[in-house]
């Protein structure tokens, strides 16, 4: 069965989703979904191990060899991503049953889990595949299901947010499709490795240039890179808490993965960074994203919205790491994917717990919660410190790598700006901490007690991971470093 791991990765949640329809009781469906997600986590762990031991794993679907059929191709980069996605999905799902009891009407629970598993399937499918069109198909699965998941939010505004996301997301997907179509026209293939081999011949044509521009723009829409981020804050704010935690920890990572995959593996780094001024473009947009996101976050009164805007800023950090296009820079970006998933997963789950107890995440409702929900608030505190980049947390590790990559290149001003950006993070995290710990509790919330275990276990697992990977950086740094090294090497092979 080990040879079939790549397909099992996708097929387990995919088959699991329609099976959910057959199960009738919501609790049963939850348990089933949890098992399915857990299985795919185990598969991804085995797969990553296999990749680290013996190099890239290739799997031919339908038994047809590569450019004719579809192949799955897993290297260190997507192996790492698969592990992050399936792990976060499983942890978030653990708290799902408790959380959606209060946020989603009971008769919709089955649908919720089906959509959740489909969304997971889509993301895993996008990451695992080595075929450009297959990316689009699975991107559609994950997007469609996430639109529906967001629209399930209790607030009526969730519908509007989902609609906004639907329109922008569809435009993004269409752009990617147009780009893929143009590439197909110029090379006659859809396979990524084959594309990489055949694109250099036609690299100078206007059609390939257009294809590149369309693919990158489409991905950036999905990535919510500033200034294409407009869908993100509302979508995250009004979605059910579980959905927010899941999407925040995974969805933008998948888009970021696609960015790396298309620029480095398909088009090749030297093409990507010479035809368009990508380095300058992404550096500027990343910095702008950090500042606009952080400053907008400071002025929000809804805590979910604060962290949604903070996500835009964090995407800025990743993109800057990407734009440096050195091994250290890419390592920093990949590390930040991993670390950001840990932080935002913990934060949004903790907000889900607050939502569960209080029914609101407005910042004034947080008064005195430091005493009433000590464990939840401590989790927010630690994850918030990690977000700022305090030593001994994961946030510090990725920022450290990012700064050293910048200093390697001698880009001092950018490094300085990033440090200032971190100070802005401090402002909005402190705002929450101050209210939670130093204000007396509201009389309406006097009966509020600590969140149930279903929340605390995954939250604290994530918080401990935040600290653990901040101290013992071997695993995450090694994988990220190896992945980015092989990306830059492969590019040297393709075009000398």
């Amino acid at each position: 069965m080990l040879a079939h791991l790549p397909i099992l990765q996708v097929i387990v949640p995919l088959i699991g989703a329609p099976v959910c329809v057959l199960l009738s009781r919501a609790r049963l469906v939850w348990l089933f979904a949890l098992i399915v997600s857990g299985l795919s986590f185990i598969v991804s762990a085995l797969l990553l191990q296999q990749v680290l031991m013996s190099g890239t794993v290739i799997y031919e679907l339908g038994g047809w060899d590569a450019p004719w059929g579809i192949e799955y191709r897993i290297d260190k980069l997507n192996g790492f991503l698969l592990l992050i996605i399936s792990a976060m999905s499983t942890l978030v799902l653990f708290a799902a049953q408790t959380s959606i009891n209060k946020e989603i009407p009971a008769e919709k629970h089955t649908h919720f889990y089906i959509l959740y598993l489909l969304s997971l399937t889509g993301m895993l499918g996008v990451v695992v595949t080595g075929d450009a069109f297959n990316v689009f198909v699975f991107l559609e699965i994950s997007s469609l299901s996430s639109y529906a998941l967001i629209a399930l939010g209790k607030d009526r505004r969730a519908l509007w947010a989902a609609y906004q996301y639907l329109i922008l997301g569809t435009i993004g997907a269409t752009f990617i499709l147009i780009g893929i179509g143009l590439m197909y026209q110029m090379t006659g293939t859809l396979n990524m490795a084959d594309l990489a081999a055949r694109l250099p011949e036609v690299a100078q044509t206007k059609t390939v240039f257009t294809a590149f521009a369309f693919v990158i723009t489409g991905i950036c829409l999905k990535l919510a890179l500033f200034p294409l981020h407009l869908w993100l804050p509302n979508a995250y704010t009004y979605a059910p808490s579980i959905v927010t935690a899941f999407l925040a920890a995974t969805a933008t990572k998948v888009a970021f993965y696609l960015l790396i995959r298309f620029t480095y593996s398909v088009f090749g780094g030297s093409f990507s960074f010479t035809t368009l001024p990508l380095q300058f473009l992404f550096m500027t947009l990343g910095l702008l994203g950090i500042f606009v996101g952080s400053i907008a976050a400071i002025y929000q009164t809804n805590v979910k919205q604060i962290f949604a805007y903070s996500s835009i800023a964090q995407i800025g950090y990743m993109v800057i790491g990407f734009s440096i296009s050195s091994v250290t820079g890419l390592t920093a970006a990949l590390l930040h994917i991993f670390n950001h998933a840990l932080m935002k997963g913990a934060l949004f789950l903790a907000l889900g717990a607050v939502m569960y107890r209080i029914g609101s995440v407005q910042i004034n409702q947080f008064q005195g919660l430091g005493q009433q929900m000590p464990l939840t608030m401590a989790a927010i505190l630690v994850a918030g410190l990690s977000l700022i980049g305090m030593p001994l947390t994961v946030g510090f590790v990725s920022k450290w790598y990012l700064l050293s990559a910048l200093i390697e290149k001698g880009w001092w001003p950018v490094a300085l700006l990033i440090l200032i950006g971190s100070l802005l993070t401090l402002v909005y995290v402190w705002k929450i901490v101050e209210i939670a710990y130093f204000k007396p509790s509201l009389s309406t919330n006097s009966t509020v007690i600590e969140a149930p275990l279903a929340f605390l276990i995954p939250i604290w697992l994530l918080v401990i991971a935040n600290i653990y990977f901040g101290v013992d950086t071997r695993l995450s740094v090694e994988v990220a470093h190896a992945a980015s090294e092989s990306l830059l090497q492969a590019q040297g092979q393709v075009r000398p």
């Binding site: 329609p18 329809v21 339908g62 038994g63 008769e107 919709k108 069109f133 469609l144 399930l152």
Partner: protein, 328 residues
């Protein structure tokens, strides 16, 4: 081609949504004929059944739920116009270096297509090359698309679900129940047509190996038949035939059927969706595999379309009964 442009401009200009929907249907039909001219019969068939057929129907239902005319827009979206112009310009710029249409040495004709065209008869044993590519070479993409449709169905029913919301004691007034007495000619004609539509759907379903057609188109045509019936005879009588929970189960069953073909090939020692191992000789296996997955596609597509339609129609029913409750 020029007709397409004219229709598109008209769609954007008109304010009456009913006319817009009709035009979109015509747009679908015209582009279908355009595809026929381009020799893409399968695409044309899909466009005709999906673009011109079922999506027009669904949009009509939505209009009946909301209202017929657009809100007047005050501001002039120049920014949007600029972005659209930029994108369009970019696309035209991209076409400058494209190989000419029909040029024999274009990359798409010389790289992977020859194997599809020349060897698929030996390797897959299916006369229609498009079916061979969709259902065998790139079967996993088709599976993905099927899941997209399933996702859409689940998404719509998750959002619009009306079942069990209120105590269903009082039988609600179904959509178009009043039509029973009035549209006599329509009813009789369509009653006569229904069996033929369904028969045609089955023909398309099973003939996909040889001519244009397959699960997607067949599913849509079949669903159109059911929807036609519902429109004319009312939701309640249609529900007597197909109930919503059942149609959802059936949709899941279609996906599972497709998936289990893949799983069986896994268990028989091949890769996922490798049909060669399904039967004793590879061609037989390919035939069996394609037949089963097309069936899965047809089942899911039909039931998802019906589910979506029922959900919208159920909403209408709900709207009606609540407004009646307010009135009394």
């Amino acid at each position: 081609m020029a007709l397409l442009v004219v229709i598109a401009i008209e769609i954007a200009r008109l304010k009456d949504l009913f006319a817009v929907v009709m035009l979109i249907g015509i747009y679908g039909l015209v582009s279908a004929s355009f595809f026929v001219v381009m020799d893409a019969v399968d695409v044309a068939f899909t466009e005709a059944s999906v673009g011109a057929g079922i999506s027009t129907l669904l949009m009509l239902v939505v209009i009946s739920l909301t209202q017929r005319s657009e809100h007047p827009v005050r501001h002039r979206p120049f920014g949007a116009l600029l972005v659209v112009m930029l994108t369009g310009g970019m696309l035209i710029y991209g076409t400058l270096d494209m190989p000419y249409v029909g040029a024999g040495d274009a990359p798409i004709h010389i790289h992977i297509a020859p194997r599809y065209l020349n060897d698929s008869m030996q390797e897959v044993g299916v006369a229609n090359v498009v079916t061979a590519v969709l259902a065998s070479y790139r079967a996993f993409d088709t599976f993905g698309e099927l899941v997209v449709i399933f996702t859409a169905g689940v998404g719509v029913s998750a959002l619009l679900m009306t079942v069990g919301r209120r105590g269903d004691k009082k039988p609600a007034v179904a959509i178009n129940d009043s039509m029973h007495k009035q549209q006599l000619i329509l009813r009789i004609v369509s009653k006569m047509m229904l069996p033929f539509i369904m028969l045609f759907a089955f023909y398309v379903q099973f003939h996909g190996d040889y001519g244009p057609g397959g699960g997607f188109q067949a599913g849509v045509i079949f669903a159109a038949a059911i929807i036609l019936y519902t429109l004319l005879f009312g939701l309640t009588s249609a529900r007597r035939v197909i109930n919503q929970t059942v149609s959802q189960l059936v949709a899941a069953f279609g996906v599972l059927l497709y998936g289990s073909v893949g799983l069986v090939s896994l268990l028989n020692g091949g890769n996922f969706l490798d049909y060669n191992v399904l039967a004793s000789n590879p061609i037989g296996g390919q035939h069996l595999g394609i037949l089963l997955i097309e069936l899965g596609v047809g089942i899911t597509v039909a039931s998802v379309m019906i589910t979506i339609f029922f959900n919208f129609a159920g909403r209408k029913e709900l709207q009606k009964s609540t407004s009646e409750n307010k009135g009394t």
